[in-house]
């Protein structure tokens, strides 16, 4: 049973397209996150949701819009994709403010051509 699952694992798309990445966790955690890992492997937080409420919204272009239909799901929709959006996007979840650590998904490698 995968704890945090993301789909798709790979996404190759043309500039200007709109795409979505889905994430689901079965750990009963109350907080979910999206992180972006760039080509230098740096991990930067984008968004977090706690019990379906948006908590963290870092400086991210408006083209990125997260949606949390329920506590177990957090999706990421990206409009008008740009070359610079190419990266690995990780979904993660935690409980108790992250004190017991995050559980990450295996990532979605987005390539914009």
């Amino acid at each position: 049973d995968t704890a945090v699952s993301q789909t798709p694992k790979y996404l190759v798309t043309q500039m200007g397209n709109d795409k979505s990445i889905k994430c689901e966790q079965n750990l009963g955690h109350d907080t979910m996150y999206w992180y972006k890992q760039d080509s230098k492997k740096f991990l930067k937080i984008m968004f977090s949701y706690n019990n379906k409420e948006l908590i963290i919204n870092e400086t991210v272009p408006n083209r990125f819009s997260p949606k949390s239909p329920d506590k177990a799901h957090l999706n990421l929709h990206i409009n008008s994709l740009e070359l610079g959006d190419s990266a690995v996007y990780f979904c993660a979840s935690s409980r108790a403010g992250g004190y017991y650590g995050y559980t990450f998904g295996s990532g979605t490698r987005l390539t914009v051509v």
């Binding site: 492997k41 740096f42 991990l43 937080i45 963290i56 935690s94 990450f104």
Partner: protein, 117 residues
């Protein structure tokens, strides 16, 4: 104030040697310091974590040393093995923070560890 600085960027160690990765932080509100291990094609996985009320924590071959006054912490991997070859990230957070800092984990830049057989 949110930065966590990690060094070195890459590290090559012989099998059986000791790997040491260092991190420094600025925000004194940070109260939780985990280390994550990431293999190629996988997400980061929690390896070991420490809170500032202790100066050292050991789990198997992995030890965190913490120096609160210097705002530094480090990961030591004893008897390094080829299977330890991965990217290691230090991180910091304040789990008790509310508002827009709730649950926020700030990562260091990562260290690529290669252990030669």
């Amino acid at each position: 104030q949110q930065q966590v600085k990690q060094s070195p960027q890459s590290l090559i160690v012989q099998k059986g040697g000791i790997s040491i990765i260092n991190c420094a932080y600025e925000n004194t509100a940070f109260d939780y310091f985990p280390w994550y291990q990431q293999f190629p094609g996988k997400g980061p996985a929690l390896l070991i974590a420490i809170r500032p009320d202790v100066s050292e924590k050991k789990e198997g071959r992995f030890t965190i040393s913490f120096n609160k006054s210097a705002k530094q912490f480090s990961l030591h991997i004893m008897d390094s093995q080829p299977g330890d070859s991965a990217t290691y990230f230090c991180a910091a957070s304040n789990p008790n923070a509310g508002g827009t800092s709730y649950g926020k984990l700030t990562f260091g830049q990562g260290t690529i560890l290669t252990v030669h057989p």
